[in-house]
Symmetry: C2
Subunit: 597 residues, 2 copies
């Protein structure tokens, strides 16, 4: 069975030494997040993930969710009891609004705990994960009455949430959606239609399920400008606010999937279900994007999370399994063979995963902190800058960390040789689970288009210019520091490639939009490498300062310097290949007629 | 359900126009392979693959193989009847020795048919695939009596074969193996021990199963120098040569795997089973390598095969599925949305798969032809040169085409969005099936080490020098041809990077072998890109000549020019990144103590 231990020390390094969150202790939430409290929460969260979520991970995969004839869905054995523990411990409300029963801690802290839970059991962590997205949408777009009616129970965890976007004929292209909403005299709507791929659509973990559903009000404009968002509870709240009468929504089937079997992915049928408009009519996409952005960051975290647990198990196996002798001469002379970890190609895989995971964690938390600051920072300019970073980096984190997460799960599986292909070792489950993260909440190609087609040009390129300035400044300020030079050199080279690619897009994509589409995937990954490289720069600088001060775990800090160097040598060279591909344009890609395929 | 149509036209282009196999019509086997015969065999083979193998692919995945309490194994519904058809049609003996009932056709032709069968149903195609490996070992190392006893029935297909190498504690490191062989008075041996991961180890398709088993004769030297190869039939041949008494070998369990569920992957228990030494005592590894090389090329073909069928289905979906509008303006104005294929990022994925598949097919067949010539060519120098190419390219084909095959299956799945993750569409099965090809017959890290640590230096580097000379000559001879220049430029650049990487290894790996290990994976992929790029050079040149002569399907030939250009623009740039990684050496990779992980 796979092992898992939450990377608490590395998370504390990022929060305390790289982000120095103590700086913000004058802000709401942060004032409650003293170093002691943060350490205690991460320790407890990690323990909960290892001890409660993780033991159910393989069971969940094997058993899957089962739909009964009446449309009810049973989660795998043990899920309900574990969810009760999760709810009772209050993990769901960590960063939620205290006005509705949340603990009001910073999102950056909740993001860490989310990583741990997703590593331990991704399919399970999705139940509260989707609830968080629904909470965010109601918090931001709901009326005071709606907030009062739904938020306390969702934050407390006795009610869960879902997102309903996809229909059989439309996923990415929501303009095509057909689910309709008919206004009723009492101000509510009757919702009818079919939604597919609804994660946590129906299950037995909570007393009620609050569906957020995109639908078209009768007579609304066609396309995306006629879509509204509705709250459709499984049980309509009664006068006391408790789950009351059954609403006309039901699970028609559970999808048979490649992975995340512990999560019920449902076909949801809406048959004149009662729904309540949330936010403005016809502006549902805007409200949905609140959930989507929250969810996209969460999916990026899933990529990191699977990569982390896959890495931990690959390390364990590489230390345990004896096979062959080191190229440099036997290492474990007392044994029949050396452990796998002596072999360079095994090291290549372990170091690659490690270099991505540690920088990925830094990037996620750096960005989650910006999320906090976008609301809390004291001056408007700081709030705007933080919001710009969030908007720019969200597609990068979603697209790049899930692509890397999958690649790393595959790499970790490879370390196991034949045993990696066998179900009982658990490595192939990580591969199957990780795969979905590249697809849902906007397939990664859509993330790349969001970055290139939308985020780059927003507000005259303000966000990307700020990013260039920040990374460039770091490289410039530290390049004469001999100890940092090997790192700043790599960052600078990557940044140059990214700037050149951006310039190429500016000069070419306006005249021929296909050039932007043809470049988008490479551009996103080039961007990701520069962002991760920058995180390595910040990490190494923080580690060097602590080493110079004789403060902290020396082996841990020195490993940062080595791993950062590995990143610059082994991952950063890819930026030039991305630039070359981007600059080749769309011509050969688009030249063939569809019939030629 | 997925579709499949064998790429007969492309295969004919490779055989007739690129390889020009008609040149060899004076050689045995080739003399029977006239253009008509080749076309008929490919047509029939493709039809058989589509109509008989393919309809069982999803069934096999869903049902898997089942072991009964008595150790017998049932294959999925329909497999037995399909195997009977396969056997009766004589597909198993296509290139086998006519002296034992084979048709004696060139291996290059059998390799094509093997691709089709593996695309249609990889798990099924493995049953005859492993038999071919066993046939090769017996043919090359068996005594005349052994050949007589086993080959006719194996070639005919009524008996099948297996390879038994792996034990629970040893896979790559065969020196550790413990299965023992005790000599008997009659010259036979008693074989005892346990083997795992034995593909097609037990099943109901054939009347007998001939296991080729590595074991250590009592008192043999330790390590790999004390390993011998044995024939261990499930049923001992009786006096009439028919399957007689049951031997002491049985299936202890079927592994629960990520994919290839249609193939029975068995734990095999040998309990004083009767075995017959094949080849010399203690030289079993050499004999086993005959099977391994055959098998490694076959596994490379599996990578190509899955990539091809995944590509075909991605194309179908991309043409059918309507979603979004082209960046360059609506294309299907009469419909609610444009088909996916208008989107550059979808094209990027389709073109990448296509560019790899077509060059991969050319490389496989180019190499399979060398396999034929290594036996059949009239002068010794030509045989040796062909054998050198085979040895050098086998690890490249195995490692690179299976890595690319998996990546392409993942890419094809991505084209489907959420539907790609759902079992019924069949795309996720391709991903799960393709994954094993990177692991078995020597994990790809072992292929890379074989290339860098063994094949490069063999005979003073004769094979690699010949490869450099051949590719360099092509680039040089054609660089002044304006129509070919865009291609030769890419090939030349890639070749330069490969030569530099080779030089770096020569200068650094001797003093520090870890540098070779650290470089090996990148070197193998760099090599693969140059080899595939060279195939594109040859393909484009052949296509241009045919176009100039007004001979052949113009759209098909022009598509070659476009796809080759895409390869140079989008895949070849990776060679520089590989070189940069290789030149960074092993230091940061190996710097951390095992305890730091």
């Amino acid at each position: 069975m796979p092992v898992y231990q939450a990377p608490v020390a590395d998370t504390l390094f990022v929060l305390n030494d790289l982000l120095r969150i103590a700086r913000y202790d004058n802000l709401p939430g942060f004032s409650d997040a003293s170093a002691d409290v943060v350490e205690a929460i991460l320790g407890e969260g990690g323990k909960f993930a290892s001890e409660v979520f993780h033991p159910l991970n393989q069971i969940g995969d094997r058993e899957g969710c089962k739909r009964a004839e009446d449309g009810s869905v049973a989660t795998p054995q043990g899920f309900k009891a574990a969810y009760d523990q999760f709810r009772e411990a209050g993990w769901g409300g960590l960063s939620a609004d205290p006005a509705y029963g949340g603990q009001g801690l910073p999102h950056v802290l909740a993001a860490s705990v989310n990583e741990f839970m997703s590593s331990a059991n991704m399919a399970f962590a999705m139940y509260p994960g989707l609830t968080r997205g629904a909470i965010a949408a109601i918090q931001q777009h709901g009326s005071p009455e709606q907030k009062e009616a739904y938020l306390p129970r969702m934050i407390e965890g006795s009610w869960t949430g879902t997102m309903n976007l996809t229909e059989p004929h439309c996923g990415t292209d929501l303009g095509l959606l057909r689910t309709r909403a008919t206004p009723q005299a009492d101000g509510s709507y009757r919702i009818s239609g079919q939604k597919i791929f609804i994660s946590a659509g129906e299950h037995d973990l909570s007393d009620n399920i609050i569906h957020l559903v995109l639908a078209r009000i009768d007579g609304a404009p066609e396309g995306t400008k006629g879509i509204s968002l509705f709250i459709v509870p499984k049980f309509l709240p009664d006068d006391a606010g408790e789950a009351g009468g059954r609403n006309g929504v039901s699970c028609g089937a559970i999808e048979e999937k490649m992975g995340i079997h512990g999560n019920a992915t449902c076909v949801m049928n809406y048959d004149e279900a009662t729904g309540y408009l949330i936010g403005e009519a016809h502006k549902g996409l805007r409200a949905m994007f609140t959930m989507m952005n929250e969810a996209r960051l969460g999916v990026g975290i899933q990529g990191l999370a699977i990569s982390e647990i896959a890495y931990q198990n690959a390390v364990t196996y590489a230390k345990d399994r004896l096979q062959g002798r080191a190229l440099s001469g036997p290492k474990a002379r007392d044994k029949a063979a050396d452990p796998l970890i002596v072999h360079p190609d095994i090291r290549r895989m372990l170091m690659t995963m490690r270099a991505v995971n540690e920088a990925g964690r830094a990037l996620v938390l750096y960005t989650a902190l910006k999320g906090d600051l976008s609301h809390l920072a004291e001056d408007e300019a700081a709030r705007q800058a933080a919001d710009d970073w969030m908007g720019l980096l969200t597609p990068v984190i979603k697209g790049v960390l899930t692509d890397k997460g999958f690649e790393n799960a595959v790499m970790a599986q490879q370390v196991y040789g034949g045993h990696g292909y066998i179900a009982e070792w658990g490595m192939e489950q990580f591969v199957r689970d990780a795969r979905i993260a590249q697809i849902y909440e906007g397939a990664n190609g859509i993330q790349a288009l969001d970055l290139v087609g939308r985020k780059l040009g927003l507000n005259g390129g303000r966000a990307i210019q700020a990013f260039f300035a920040e990374v460039g400044k770091f490289a410039e300020e530290n390049r004469s520091d001999e100890a940092l030079a090997p790192y700043t050199k790599g960052i600078k080279k990557g940044l140059n490639d990214l700037q050149q690619a951006t310039m190429w897009l500016m000069q070419n994509a306006m005249a021929k939009p296909d050039h932007a589409g043809a470049a988008s995937n490479d551009y996103m990954h080039l961007f990701g490498l520069v962002a991760l490289g920058y995180m390595w720069g910040l990490s190494v600088k923080a580690a060097q300062e602590k080493l110079a001060a004789g403060d902290g775990d020396e082996a841990f800090l020195k490993a940062k310097l080595v791993t950062g160097k590995f990143f610059m040598e082994r991952l950063m060279p890819e930026t030039a290949a991305h630039l070359a591909r981007i600059s080749s344009g769309a011509d050969s890609m688009m030249a063939l007629d569809a019939e030629a395929f």
